[in-house]
Amino acid sequence: MSHTHSPGDGGGDHPAAPMVEEITDFEVLEIAVRELAIEHGLFTAEDHRRFTEWAESIGPAAGSRLVAKAWTDPAFKKRLLEDAVKACKEIGIDWAEPTGFGTPSDYMNLRVLEDTPTLHHVIVCTLCSCYPRPLLGMSPEWYRTTNYRRRLVRWPRQVLAEFGLILPPEVEIRVEDSNQKCRFMVLPMRPEGTENWTEEQLAAIVTRDCMIGVALPRPGRTADVHPVQKARRPVQRS
């Protein structure tokens, strides 16, 4: 089925995005097994709606707050590196939520990886898309691609360069694979020029990609700012 948005509905006059126009057995299977599970009393439809809402509402703000606090509070940073799940509770993130004992997708074993001037961390899940959801929300699309998952472990320096992150050769790059029942998050180095900043100011520059390890925090660069840059050599009109 296709349709267009008319000018009156606020969407402009353009065709709808393409859709997979067939019903697959996988889609049917997911619905069928869920309905049977509800009928058998394994969970309720309300449970399911609540978890779906939770999964789609979490974002990377919690991770940003965690990093900002670690930058400004050395004692907290020490606790964070020793027991990250426990330290998360101090900023209001309980890895046991929303079930009371974690979720299948967020194994309750988090390790925070501290970058240093000579060591840079980056995370991946080579098997699928394991990701520290309670801190960073749902994983970005590129994180789940085979291009990223397979190539990062082999050629980390080149893959990071494709993200625009070019590290000097003397900086070791360590890739941590989330497969082995453990979640990871990168604690990047606090950038220069942020002295005397508040935690709130600092959190604003700790974007999702900084905590995955494919970017570095910089003053003035936040997730709110569209990274549009003018062309250095624009096409000359005759």
Binding site: E27, V28, L29, V33, F43, P104
Partner: protein, 117 residues
């Protein structure tokens, strides 16, 4: 019941038929020009896993182990998230949480319902 038993119990005819289908999202999405990397039912599947753990139907560690084992053996060649769906249903069938007959019957009913609109 050990996880090894879960893997050994099977194969399930219903899932084998799906496993061999070339109808995964990875195959279909480009055919229709769709760029979303996940099918619309992916979040629902994640929530279903969360629900089963939350209600103690599938103990967390137990389920993670079973999913990993099945994903690396029986459903190794199936891409995510279909691999996760097949692994979940495999475990549910294996543990008698749903029956293969009921599931096949319900799938026919669901398909008829979806195709009716």
């Amino acid at each position: 019941m050990s996880d090894k038993d879960d893997v050994e119990r099977g194969p399930f005819q219903l899932l084998e038929a799906l496993r061999n289908q070339d109808k995964t999202w990875k195959t279909l999405a480009p055919r229709y020009g769709v760029t979303n990397p996940n099918p619309p039912w992916k979040t629902s599947l994640t929530a279903m896993c969360d629900c089963l753990v939350a209600n103690g139907v599938l103990p967390l560690l137990d389920w993670r182990r079973a999913e990993d084992e099945l994903g690396e053996t029986v459903y190794r060649d199936v891409p995510a998230p279909e691999r996760q769906l097949l692994a979940l249903v495999h475990v549910m069938l294996s543990r008698g949480l749903v029956s293969e007959t009921d599931l096949a019957q319900r799938m026919r009913a669901v398909r008829a319902r979806l195709e009716a609109v």
